[in-house]
Point group: C2
Chain length 346, copies 2
């Protein structure tokens, strides 16, 4: 039986917001019953559901003049691969193509049996709550963010695929105080009424003014913010810094506010974006929080006594010169530690 199989390619690499015209649909005929269609180990799949996600914006150029590939759900039509049988439902990375021949290597092995064993669950959940975005929420909140019971949690992009799971996990699993930021009043109502968020703010009410948003966030968080799960970046994120509590964690998951800007991204946005792909951690700290004094003195005294560590001091003489010594720090007059010897000469 010969059928038409359409596929979607990237024709132009967009410079700002992508347009429908940047994509092209190509049709080909395929005989899905041809016995020679599949080589050993191959299988024929029919695409059922496709996941579209913001991260794809940054990957479009890799598909230039080629078919796009993203996560999806497919049904196995025929198989010469011992791991898959006709009618299996599978998830994995698939081309945007109605029928594809694949060797199965991009299929996620973990989900096939889970899907078969949970037929009552809507299939699309394997792309959302039980898919990559749900996994991102779980990883960010629990593994990276180490969310604790009853913390104060803010989620930007809260009505998005990741945000909706983050907020619910924080609220329903960790009993947190959870506030979401979204882009319409309907979404805000949805967060509160359907997803049990404590409150929600519509960022479009604030006209890109981080001070105004900050004032309302302050009301929404009388005890400050312990964990900020950031899916958006931009002025929303800027409004958060002054509301963070001691030992707060800021999880940079997405920066959709800037995905379509090529130029003129503020330095701080550019910086935050860079943290994501390399899983970079930036952490401020202060010695007053350090408690392992015993370990410190034990190790450091050993290294000092072994003369492993060299100590350099810039010693300024005389009590009266204390202010001068202090001021000299800012023009780099010290090498090593600046100390004033203020012993009284007798």
């Amino acid at each position: 039986m010969s059928v038409t199989s359409k596929s979607i390619h990237v024709k132009n690499i967009p410079h700002a917001v992508p347009q429908v015209e940047d994509f092209e649909t190509i049709s080909e005929e395929i005989n899905i019953e041809d016995e020679n269609l599949l080589k050993e180990n191959e299988l024929l799949i029919e695409l059922q559901y496709v996941s579209v996600d913001p991260y794809l914006r940054g990957r479009l150029q890799t598909f230039h003049n080629n078919v796009v590939q993203t996560l999806g759900i497919a049904k196995v039509i025929s198989s010469k691969n011992k791991n898959f049988n006709k009618d299996d439902t599978v998830t994995g990375v698939f081309p945007w193509k109605q029928y594809s021949v694949t060797d199965g290597k991009t299929i996620q092995p973990a989900t096939k049996d889970l899907i078969a064993g949970n037929k009552h669950i809507d299939k699309t959940l394997w792309l959302s709550t039980l898919g990559m975005t749900g996994m991102t929420a779980y990883q960010g909140l629990f593994e990276v963010g180490k969310c604790e019971e009853k913390e104060n949690v803010l989620v930007s992009g809260a009505a998005g695929a990741v945000g909706m799971v983050v907020g619910q996990l924080a609220k329903k699993v960790k009993n947190c105080h959870v506030v979401g930021i979204a882009g319409t009043n309907e979404k805000c109502q949805h967060l509160i009424k359907d997803l049990s968020f404590d409150s929600a703010l519509n960022y479009k009410d604030y006209n890109n003014n981080s001070k105004l948003l900050q004032a309302d966030l302050k009301k929404a968080f009388p005890n400050g913010i312990d964990l900020y799960f950031d899916n958006t970046g931009g002025f929303i994120t800027e409004s958060v810094w002054d509301l963070l509590n001691k030992n707060a964690r800021v999880l940079i998951c997405g920066q959709i506010a800037n995905y379509n800007h090529i130029n003129n991204i503020p330095k701080i946005d550019d910086f935050l974006f860079k943290l994501i792909y390399k899983h970079i951690r930036v952490e401020g700290f202060i010695v007053y929080d350090f408690k392992n004094h015993e370990e410190f003195y034990k190790n450091m005294l050993k290294w000092v006594n072994e003369k492993l560590l060299v100590s350099k001091e810039t010693i300024v003489e005389g009590f009266d010169n204390i202010p001068k010594a202090f001021i000299g720090l800012f023009s780099g007059e010290n090498t090593g530690k600046m100390v004033v010897d203020c012993r009284i000469k007798k």
Copy 2:
């Protein structure tokens, strides 16, 4: 015996770089042999060494019209406190005052016996390598930064009190590749020759141009940077972001480049500064690094099956609408996960 005891007060709160005139020296007469000088539990101390540190810049206003207090080393002259005896050498927070009466509460109890037991060590080391700045280096590199063997470590403010210890610990204890940034060629030579740094750059050679500095840092780190210990902020820090490796850590310890600026601090510098006092962690992450799939499916399936988690999807119909659905993400057309149902109607 009546002696003159001088003390140093903050007369004016400086707006930019502090000046000697912002401080005032006041003299008083004190009879250090007067039997009524000390009440029960009090002791008389003579100040020997004073530590001056950049953090004090931010605290000056708290000492307005009052005597400054910082870390120092003092000798006990007389004592009615059972924990301290005449001639003990103690460290702690002391007023900038030649003779002070204190109840001993600001004395650090841990160091008194350590100092007595290590008389061969120069006393000033208790303010440097074995003092607060050494502790800061130790905490930042090992506890917060989790520095591993043979990592690539960059230290700004490397010839300062904290930086010199950080670099040596990374090099001599963890066998790292260590590069320092300092402000004179002499300091750079000192880092390499005396402190065993692998190389050093003089930031004043780069005229505040982060791209130029970045180019030389790239040469100094052929394998990228795993750990950046930041004591300065400013253009030095800006030059580092693009050179960081996967799972890099950036430790924000000091931002001396901005301590004397009240206005016009770039947003990113202001942001980094804020991380310090509250010990805030900002961490980017990406789901491809997540490995606990088994735990994820076990917990999430349970919560989905219990209907604890609500899943919201925006389902767009039809294969041809995949690009439109994708583009809609950037104008917030989705609530929850955006999925395209592209099943072929038969």
